[in-house]
Amino acid sequence: MKDNELSNILSQYDSKEQIDGQLYTLNLGPTHPATHGIFQNILTMDGERILHSEQTVGYIHRAFEKISERRNFAQITTLTDRMNYCSAPINNIGWHMTVEKLIGCEVPKRVDYMRIIMMELARIADHLVCNGVIGVDTGALTGFTYVFQDRERIYEMYEQICGARMTTNMGRIGGFERDFTPKFHELIKDFIKNFPKRFEEFCILLERNRIFMDRTIGAGPISAERALSYSFTGPNLRAAGVDYDVRVAQPYSSYDDFDFIIPIGTAGDTYDRFMVRQQEILESYKLIKNAYENLPEGAFHADVPDFYLPEKADVYTKMEALIYHFKIVMGETEIPKGEVYHCVEGGNGELGFYLVSDGGRSPYRLHFRRPCFIYYQAFPEMIQGSMISDAVVTMSSMNVIAGELDA
């Protein structure tokens, strides 16, 4: 991108030596308030213009793939929510669905709908943080404080489901650990009633704000063709104009029961990425509303005694429940051999799980397709020739999450 602009800069210098004397190197990161995570960018600068950048990643690599080769299937859930910690329930539920695919488990309709509600709440929380942070990086701190109120409300709902807020470990293989609690119903009814009004305030602050638009339009663009070549997925790909969404292309968890729009952009720049996420928040809200209003009655977990822990009261009184409890905790469950690839639409794009099972208690090989890791490599190309302040907003609008990148 901006190749002629770059060659214009370079043509101002007579020789290579003069360029070397004029340019300087700047370390953006590893810890820098604008990177929102631990990444290092070694920038070669001409004044305030970036000529070249090189990235170092892996600062919080925790070897999840290696660890999961020693853990049983239920214990891997806690690893997945430490990847994209802004939308942990999507990762948890995506992993559960991968295992369900491997063992051939059908879940009740109610579980599907409950999962949609939780995953879309997570998507809203993820996008709210990302868009709030774009505001912060352009100097508008107010919007950030607005959206964090709703993120807090969503985290309170997580607490009702699983007791945790950030690293949720939500759900079980086959469904949920408990049904929606009365407090959850209260919270989500309030959310459905009041969220659009509150979100509107945030939209008014930024969407048509002249300063914000001047700062973000044209910053860090990528064409659809390059985005596809870089294997972009999720909002970043849709901002470039490709309407690919796993929820529609390959519906899972009864997403095909609902009608929703995939927003797309045209230029693939920071403003488009921001607007795509804004629209996705509204679509997710619609999905939550529909799923909650049509929530079917029934069981909140599938009948898979080999994987789903029995009620504690039953464990103490019934022999079968005790046997299953023992087998699950000790990891003695029969697991079919096979390999599956399952993907869900995560906060950042196609989150894939490639699982190879040899019949042992833990996966033989588990590979996470982390959208962040894949699209962050396009960052140098996107910021080449632009100002350093554009690089900062580009990075926050790509929603690069260190935990997911480094896994």
Binding site: S231, R361, R365
Partner: protein, 164 residues
Amino acid sequence: MTNEFVLEAIQREFSDSVISHSEPYGFLTLEIKKEDIKKIIHYLKDSSLEINFLTDICGIHFPENKEKEVGVIYHLHNMMTNFRIRLKTFMPIENTEVDTITDLFAGANWMERETYDFFGINFKGHPDLRIILNDPDLGYHPMLKEYRLEDGTRTDKDDKMFGR
């Protein structure tokens, strides 16, 4: 597009390259000769099959499969018809060289670096094949099965009951 249709097209075009094929959970999976993997990916990308989106690259290690210890697994995708295909290629651990596909897909760069980092697979022609996630001074490729998760010299943990 069906699995049979794509399989037939590949077998017609490259009759000697496909070693085996299967459909675990309905996902077309082909094992390809190492020399031909790039040719086939290029064909899938540019032919009318239009399987032109690289979803993922990862490695795998089977210490028991002699002469075929380590493998590279490619997931490719045709977004228009939502058709996915998985290609595998295996090689002996002494000679882990396979052609890079960075010139076909820009996104393959880091995926191949990750695979090199974890499994030591040398992607021939890769522009910048360095360790990416681990410590550059680590000195070995930790996802190979001979490396234990924890330091083997530890004595404070006894795993003989619950080990794999």
